[in-house]
């Protein structure tokens, strides 16, 4: 399967307005990542999504949310974690957004640095950028039909 990862600038395609089906706004704390993951399980309740596809979506979104918790607010301040999900036919787009420092190299990173490559390997398409309000976005597109086939 072709995977696509794109880094885009401020106000680029990642900030395109859209009709969002679900928007979830939480404080960016580790315990709230589990809420996001559990909420995404609803996809399996109402759509014909196979277990592997659902697992891949949950893992990719969990990774993006964990990145926000670990990296977006490094000085100990608390900020928002926003997750938007949009269904368009057999395509699911999930945007994970924060108001932190953005995606930049961090020599003192506490993680292994596998987050974005892992997301890129699980999603059909990944876009990194900022919305019109300069909030950092990771936009992941999953092709439900292609992944289920």
């Amino acid at each position: 399967m072709m995977r696509e990862t794109t880094a885009i600038g401020d106000g680029g395609p990642a900030s395109t307005p859209e009709a969002v089906d679900i928007a979830l706004l939480l404080p960016a704390r580790a315990e709230n990542v589990a809420i996001v993951r559990h909420a995404l399980g609803a996809l399996g309740e109402v759509l014909e999504v196979d277990a592997q596809t659902l697992s891949d979506i949950r893992l990719a979104v969990t990774e993006a949310c964990t990145n926000v918790v670990v990296h977006a607010y490094p000085d100990g301040s608390e900020g928002p974690l926003e997750v938007l999900a949009t269904l368009n036919g057999e395509e699911l787009t999930v945007v994970v957004r924060d108001e932190g420092e953005g995606i930049t190299p961090r020599p003192d990173s506490p993680g292994l640095g596998l987050g974005l490559p892992l997301i890129a390997s699980l999603a059909e398409k990944v876009q990194l950028g900022h919305d019109a309000r300069k909030r950092t976005e990771v936009r992941m597109t999953f092709s439900l039909a292609a992944m289920a086939a």
Partner: protein
């Protein structure tokens, strides 16, 4: 109080299951007894079943806050008299009003976000 967690839900099949799952996680973390958790899920099903018929802009917003022994659900972006309509729609013949039976408090407040008013539901546990 902890939180808040806020959801904005469009009409569609995901609205009910997503709200129920988020409320379940928030209440589990608050050590809510399972019978009251079930009551809260009934309330959530009523909110998503009927609430979207009374919204101001096509979306239902729900803000959750928990205290040590209470969950507050703030259902927003309701049209004028939408809260009253939502409560009336929750009446089941022979059973009564589901929202009034499973929640401890129902009050209508001016909207803090969009729409003219919000329905605030409190569930003690």
């Amino acid at each position: 109080m902890t939180g808040p967690a806020s959801l904005r839900l469009a009409k569609g099949p995901l609205a009910g299951p997503v709200l129920c799952r988020v409320v379940s996680m928030v209440l589990a973390r608050a050590d809510c007894p399972v019978d009251r958790l079930d009551d809260a899920l009934l309330a959530c099903e009523e909110i998503t079943t009927h609430g979207l018929g009374y919204v101001a802009d096509g979306h239902l917003s729900v803000t959750l806050r928990t205290d040590k022994d209470q969950l507050e659900l703030r259902v927003g972006e309701l049209a004028e008299r939408g809260a009253e309509g939502m409560l009336a729609a929750a009446v089941v013949p022979g059973l009564g009003n589901v929202l009034e039976r499973v929640t401890d408090e129902q009050r209508v407040e001016p909207a803090r976000s969009g729409g003219p008013e919000e329905l605030v539901l409190a569930i003690s546990f």
